[in-house]
Symmetry: C2
């Protein structure tokens, strides 16, 4: 599948908005205009529009014209979005990054771990701990638990590169869904040892479960972020209950 039509339309509209071809708080072309321009059905166009709305580029309302509400965020901060590996996110922002493996072990899921990670009790796992450096600063402490049976032959050498690359390209695994949960926690001894916490005594913790295409959870992750370089964006739409 080359690329879906609705997706190329979405990307085109998105770029036009980002390039400022429509003024912020300005009016966006009507559906009838756009279907003519992109030579597509209304259903296809609306699918692209839905994504623009969801991501906070435009606003729409029955009877009303659509409006552009996009505003460029001048921050070049390290952002989280989608299921994106550290490598991908860093590359997207044109940053120098280094990963260092500080722990690599094979373990068995006990009751405590099972409860926290929802990985099946008694299964074998690899535990990997890595520190992520961005532009020389220790930024993230990553703790990954992988099901051994899902990630055979994982080695520290692989972990030193991109594990997701290995999973997708070497093992042909298809990663599909990921649940994430963000909280703020006290810094642990481990955090203080590896991250230069300065006078911060807390950090942002993103914990997540990742599922492959077979529908089984094969990973639990905890990313412990230095507060200064953590940012998470989101746009929400309120449904009208009337």
């Amino acid at each position: 599948m080359p690329t879906a039509k609705f997706e190329t339309i979405y990307k085109d509209m998105k770029e036009k908005i980002e390039k400022g071809m429509y003024q912020s708080e300005g009016i966006f072309p009507a559906e009838s205009t756009l279907t003519a321009e992109y030579d597509c059905s209304r259903a296809t166009l609306r699918r692209a529009l839905a994504r623009l709305i969801e991501r906070g580029y435009i606003q729409a309302g029955q009877g009303r014209r659509m409006r552009v509400i996009y505003q460029p965020t001048e921050q070049h901060e390290f952002m989280i979005g989608g299921i994106e590996s550290f490598r991908e996110a860093a590359a997207r922002n044109h940053f120098q990054f280094v990963t260092r493996v500080i722990h690599f072990a094979e373990e068995v899921v006990d009751e405590k771990i099972a409860k926290k990670t929802s990985l099946p009790l008694g299964s074998n796992i690899y535990e990997v701990r890595r520190v992520r450096y961005l532009e020389g600063k220790a930024l993230i402490l990553d703790i990954n638990l992988f099901l051994c049976e899902a990630v055979p032959n994982l080695t520290p050498e692989i972990a030193n590169g991109s594990i997701y690359d290995y999973l997708e390209n070497e093992l042909g695994m298809v990663i599909v869904t990921s649940h994430r949960r963000m909280t703020v926690e006290h810094a642990t001894a481990l955090d203080n040892k590896w991250l230069e916490m300065g006078d911060y005594n807390c950090l942002a913790v993103v914990s997540g479960r990742t599922y492959n295409a077979a529908g089984i959870q094969f990973e639990y992750t905890q990313s412990r972020h230095h507060p200064e370089y953590f940012c998470f964006e989101d746009t929400a739409t309120r449904r009208r209950t009337r």
Copy 2:
């Protein structure tokens, strides 16, 4: 509009999943089965399915059967999701809540504020600061800046209740979109004064811009959350680039 068909279908499927009518990691009925069951077109069903996928209830893949990946989270925590007011979120969790207005003033947007909030320079605004108590504990410090022209006659009394109620029900304003950005910041003197920070010296800050149906931003908000009671959930789907 009573309720859209795709939405009632979504809700029904969602509840069935939550009630455990399908086992987690179990198989979800095929589209053909569901269109028959709900007596709807495929397009409508797929719209409901898309939402289930987006919210992390099920997983789908071309050629494969859909799978349930929902797992109940035992959260008694205070969660953020959608554009939800403090009142709504507290009520949803059956909690006692109190709001206390600690500051109410009229001001003018200067350059510094304009840059931070992206509210128009020179416009008149109300600045409201409120402390939110949940079950007696000071939990959130809310700082709101409202455009005066959009929120006429705002008073401390109204701020003491639900401002969003006032906007929607009294003024008939339709709130549509909201951009939010989450970061972790050092606690300020104001934070320490009003929130019982204990030995935490940071908190979770959610800042957001809110737009009404006219497409103009009428609010800038900063919610400063006590770390212990802050939680944000998210599910992401990886797009296949092939």
